[in-house]
Amino acid sequence: MLSNHRDDIPNLSDAEALSFLYQIAGVGLIVWNLKQESLSISPNIWDLFGFRADPEEYHDVNFWQGIIHVDDWTNVNQAISDIKLRKTLSKEIVFRIKKSEDDFLWILARVHNVEYNQNTTFKIVASLIEVDRLNSDHVEAKLHWDRYRNLINSSPIGVFVTLRENPKTIIYTNDTLAEILGVDDIENEDSKILEKRYILRDHDFTQFILETDKKRMLALLNDKYLNDTSVKELKMITQDSKILDVEVKIIVSDWEEKEAIYFFIQDVTQRKLERDQLAMANEDLERFTYSVSHDLKTPLTTIRSFLGELQKESRERNSELFIEDLNRITRAAGRLEKLVAGLLELSRIGRFHTEKETVSLENVVSKQLESLSEMVKNSNAAIIVGKLPTIKAVRVRMHQLMQNLIQNAVKFMGDEKKPTVEIGSIKKNDMYIVFVRDNGIGIEDNHKERIFEVFSRLNPKIDGTGVGLAEAKRIVETHDANLWVEESPPRSWNPKGKGSTFCISFPESSIINWR
């Protein structure tokens, strides 16, 4: 056997001998001629690494760029550039190449600068070997790094990394950041990039910082502040121009042997929104308890104070003052009762009678005008009823709402000679508005919000508890509608456009029949 082989050896060509050598050593060879931008590949390379692509492609530089794992580009390019610039004569790198869509192979490459003939030929020769065979520390380190990256990638916190020497340019992000910034479903012309986290590579991150916060953000990258790892609040802007509130933490560490800056970004927009809403609800509650306690206290103070007066007056047998003060107490007690009843009713809205049904506002208004006929007659007010829609609502609340608004309009007519109330509807800027307007005394701008607060009254001369409009507001809120007041526009019955118009805009979903 042996002798046979020995006989064959002298007949081998150089190329054949080389080919045997590759196979026995399990090493692939790539020779990159930089002058001609061409590659020569040892023929064993596809057997070695099991590539299934067309072997023709292997001679194309771009093909290699395409199958190298994106995370390893920096490494590979750096090595090649170092060799090209003759910073070093040889370098050893570990990287992954793509076998199939999701299968990567770890490769150890030894890259050399080979100059056969100075100035004419300039070649880079790389020997490739699959590193699993070597079981080297390189692999361990790479795997470790990989696991670490996976961990970062599945974190709910957005992460991006820049190099200290070029602190604005992103060299790495995790998927979460891409999702936060809304770049995760952008189509990338470069089909090699499939994973979200590569989309932002090489981008300037400051494009995602809201203009007003850019300066502050850049200041944080100043050497003075870089060691400050406290959490900062910042506004960012997404690809589709949404403004986000984020918390950012900045840490200096290294990235592949270079000094790098790590940014950890947490999207707190929702949390901040909820916090603001809670603060607003608390403020409302505070105002509510303030006015409730004040307004309940006032008649109570009257009752207690004048009870003392009564005692004195009964001792002094001052019957005239006695009766007067007794009346004061009775009035105050009556007022207290009304306030408590109003509060109770207010608290019931949204808790009782919540079943929504088809309600014709036209019917509601005509019934309310019937029951308010006495009051309307006394006020001499003319009532104009226009077209009103049929909506999905809680019937009894609609009755209360229209009652409150009509009463309110009739009550505040002042000395108008021809008091008029118009009830109607209008579709304006996609809003379905039902209005009650009058030509009465109107409401000054600075009171236009206050009037809806519980117990707020603007006119001490006109009787009322200040619950009506608060009740109307609450009813409207429980129907996901809006209530506001504006000045009445000029009409034939109101040429000067005096008085107030109360508007309710119902959500489109609640409209059954708009007429």
């Binding site: 207690r304 104070s305 004195k312």
Partner: protein, 156 residues
């Protein structure tokens, strides 16, 4: 006690509750009923002090020596009146900021107290619940602000 001429002392009471107006009126003992001027809203108080509208005539609206001010008023509340009175250039031009202002209110919240003192209130008093206490309170106010206390308008 100082020798203040009580005959010339004018009190402006800014109070929206008729019953509370009455309680103060009954317990205050001024030589002449006309020395107590009552308005029931902050807006009217400002009109009075700046002599606007119905209050243009100084015979009707003599500058008060003391203002008793409620906080929860209907249109313009007491805190706003106080702020305009003590801090605005308009009020300073008329020397209105030198008039002592005593708040008499049912509110004991920190917010109202702090706002009042921030705006240079001279005294902050809580409305009592008993007739006896009203009597005491008003008597004390009278004794202190119309007796011991000297303000710029008093010639002794």
């Amino acid at each position: 006690m100082n020798n203040i001429n009580i005959e010339e002392f004018i009190v402006l009471l800014v109070e929206d509750e008729a019953d509370h107006q009455e309680m103060i009126r009954r317990n205050l003992s001024l030589p002449n009923d006309q020395q107590l001027k009552i308005v029931d809203d902050g807006e009217d108080a400002l009109s009075y002090l700046f002599r606007e509208g119905d209050y243009a005539n100084p015979e009707i609206s003599p500058t008060p020596s003391l203002i008793l001010l409620d906080i929860n008023l209907i249109r313009v509340n007491g805190t706003e009146v106080l702020k305009i009175l003590k801090c605005s250039d308009e009020a300073k031009a008329l020397d209105l900021h030198k008039i002592p202002v005593v708040i008499v209110t049912t509110s004991s919240t920190d917010k109202d107290k702090i706002e009042a003192y921030d705006n240079y209130v001279n005294s902050y008093l809580l409305k009592p619940g008993e007739a006896e206490d009203w009597k005491k309170l008003v008597k004390e106010i009278q004794q202190y602000w119309m007796g011991f206390n000297l303000s710029t308008s008093h010639n002794v």
